[in-house]
């Protein structure tokens, strides 16, 4: 037990829509430099949970604390200012601007220069923008219009943008959705490497179990709005409840049968 508060502490988050509980009493925490995966089948409440963390949605009850400070019910832009970067399931970038300009917008915002009417934006923190793009392997694309990038490159650009405010925490919603298998591995490897180097906590949701089990330090599993399992990839993999949720009764039976057979 450490005295310092964890990077992210989620306590008893609950949200219901018209009497249906989308998320019920979810609690977990995340340390700096740790990569935590949030998984669960469709409709488990992952997105709702995720949106309550990044400010897109307000919980009915419960709290989200970042380094001990309550962020519950704050707007996305306020949470970003507290040091949380994020990427979207479907990439959200500034399509008519170049790759560098996309990063520069985030740097401008971080530098609190949004209402600067007279400065030169093209020269704004060009060096830092370049470094961030190099970091995600997009250095050669800086002058490309964002609208003509391939999907995988957009994801990498989003990562660079998310890193622009030197975040303590990265929230990544389905970071590898829509990417080719090789790109997925590349992106997650890159993310993990950056997170460890800069000691950034990463929380991501993901459908691709290969990605999850290969890159997550820890996994939490949601089903029907409640947290049903938490632990290392190996622990979660072995959790029968998780298997039941994910694989269905038949497959669970298969697994037990196989275990029985090997015994």
């Amino acid at each position: 037990m450490s005295v310092a508060p964890p990077l992210l502490a989620v306590e008893g988050l609950t949200k219901s829509y018209g009497g249906v509980h989308a998320v019920r009493g979810v609690s977990f925490s995340l340390r700096a430099g740790e990569i935590l995966a949030l998984i669960g089948p469709n409709g488990a409440g992952k997105s709702t949970c995720f949106d309550m963390l990044n400010g897109q949605n307000k919980p009915d009850t419960g709290h989200v604390r970042l380094l001990g400070e309550d962020t519950t019910g704050r707007k996305p832009r306020e949470i970003w200012r507290m040091g949380v970067g994020r990427t979207f399931q479907i990439t959200a970038t500034f399509a008519t601007m170049t790759v560098r300009e996309n990063v520069q917008v985030a740097l401008i915002s971080h530098g609190k220069q949004l209402y600067n009417l007279w400065g030169s934006a093209p020269n704004f923190d060009r060096g830092e923008a370049g470094r961030l793009l190099e970091l995600v392997g997009m250095g050669g694309y800086a002058d490309r219009p964002c609208g003509e990038l391939a999907y995988g490159d957009l994801k990498r650009l989003e990562l660079a943008v998310a890193l622009a405010n030197q975040p303590k925490l990265l929230l990544m919603d389905e970071p590898t959705a829509g990417m080719a298998p090789r790109e997925r591995v590349d992106l997650m490897r890159l993310t993990a490497q950056i997170a460890r180097e800069k000691s950034i906590g990463v929380l991501f949701t993901e459908h691709d179990m290969d990605v999850v089990f290969e890159h997550a330090d820890r996994i939490i599993v949601l089903n029907r709005g409640t947290l049903i399992a938490e632990g290392s990839p190996a622990e979660v993999r072995g959790n029968p409840q998780v298997q039941a949720v994910y694989l269905g009764e038949g497959l669970l039976y298969d697994a037990q049968h196989r275990e029985g057979a090997s015994a």
Binding site: R77, W80, R81, L114, G147
Partner: protein
Amino acid sequence: MAFYVVQFLTGLASAASLFLVASGLSIIFGVTRIVNFAHGAFYMIGAYVAFTLTERLSGAFGFWGAIVIAAFAVALIGVLVEMVLLRRIYHAPELFQLLATFGLTLMVEDLVVLIWGPDDLVGRRAPGFKGAIDFFGQNIPSYDLFLIVLGPVVLGILWLLFQRTRWGVLVRAATQDRDMVAALGVNQKWLFTSVFAVGVFLAALGGALQIPRDAVHHAMDLRIIVEVFVVVVIGGLGSIIGAFVAAVLVSELNAFGILIFPKISIILVFLVMAAVLIVRPWGLFGRPEAPARKTPGLTVNPWRPLTSNERLASLAAFVIAATLPLFAGNYALTVGSEIAIFVIFAVSLHFLMSVGGLASFGHAAYFGLGAYGVAFLAKMAGLPMIVCLLLGPLLGCMGAAVFGFFAVQLSGVYFAMLTLAFAQIVWSIAFQWVSVTGGDNGILGVWPSSWAASPSHFYWLALGVAALVTIALRAMVFSPFGYALRATRDSLLRSEAVGINAKRIQWTAFVIAGTTAGIGGALFAYLKGSVFPDNLGISLSVDALVMVLLGGVETVSGAVIGAIVYKALNIWLVSQTDLSKLVLGGFIVLIVVVFPKGIVGMLEMLAQRRRKTSPPGSPLLAKPIESAE
């Protein structure tokens, strides 16, 4: 009591004609996303054609047959317009279709006078519905009763059409998600054409049915088009039920409103729309618009500051323009001043529209407020010109600060319509508050001080301010604020996620644009020596939109060219011919077809193509190779 019942029924009858036209507009917008400015023109042609037919064909069958034939005939014209003109520009930037239909409207207004003559035409009364029915001592025209029944019947038919036919299902699907329907392999072309035909049919029918009540004349279109837009927006875009409810709401509020405030009609619909949009941003029955999926590769021409060569060229152009007084006469200089002022006006709207992605349909409000600001200061406070020029635009700034706050809470067409409503409210204040504003007779005698009185001095003043404003706004595009503004335009979601308070950025942009427009208005007041409610009017707002679209909405400085070309052409045509609307409309339609990216947009594309052909491996072509590394 009987009086109130009859007044209610009278309101319903007014609602019926409004609904017919509005439903057509709503259907067209819902599916094609075309802001069909020509809808009023189709309404008017419907009335003219029906007039001609009802005068030729005799008897009851002749009359009703003529109404229906007229509607079908105009629907055919609509199909022609859709196939020949609109089909070419569905992929043009948003609102470009507005420009095309605006051009058409201009042409039609002159054409009907050429074909049918200048006189007001009064057609026959409807056979079988000529008289009135007595209701406890009050007379209800039987034709009103016919219209009261017709409204719900048309609503019912449309409902059946949408609920019970495959076509209707496709239309509804397309209203909700155009891309989806396209993806399902539906022939989108013919879906759009048929939808346009149905919409135009309803407009023409609405026009034809006015024959027994109204006079047919060449300004019918303007009388109805704005009101119909308002009804559609109050009801919620694409919602037929909404259009019906809104038509009834507006008509009844008017019918009973005039009993208490006889002068309310002039502004009522706009007050209702502003109230509805502030409380329900998507209209009564509308749904939040799904954010339009940007077609990738559509706008891939990144903006960049001018190179030093281009800067020199601009400076040279400015110097040449500044030498105009050395060889041009007073008239040319005054026209030059007017064009320079419209450059200011156009670049201010361009900043909001192209950089901020907020297309205002009421930008003239701030131009006019600047003009009125000057007039108040000069005439009431008696301040010298230079002080008035500096302080006058502040009225535009204040107006923009107040209205902009509410307007930026909305987006897309709803934003456009709320700005329109605010502009109309300001206009009607200027129009009605005779003791302060002089009403429609305006404020006269706002002439420049002697230092700026000569045409050449005023021209240099206007040119200098226009250059400063253009440079300042251009600099802002490439300032950190400009980047933030473009960011909010491209993706609200992402901009919020990088800590940008999008609404406040947009509000700031609105105030900047409004103040700049006010500067233009202030100069305009001195150029003309007078201020009129026209300076805040819809037609001036539309002029500004046309200038921006003509220049190219996706460019950084297209508005400058757009303003010069449009204004110079307009002044020249009005001076040369009484058919200026026909020629100007034709020119706009031509530009739309030939230059779907606007004049400057097209020039840029040509320049880019030339660049691309010389060095091998353009970014677009190189892309697949590099990403496959």
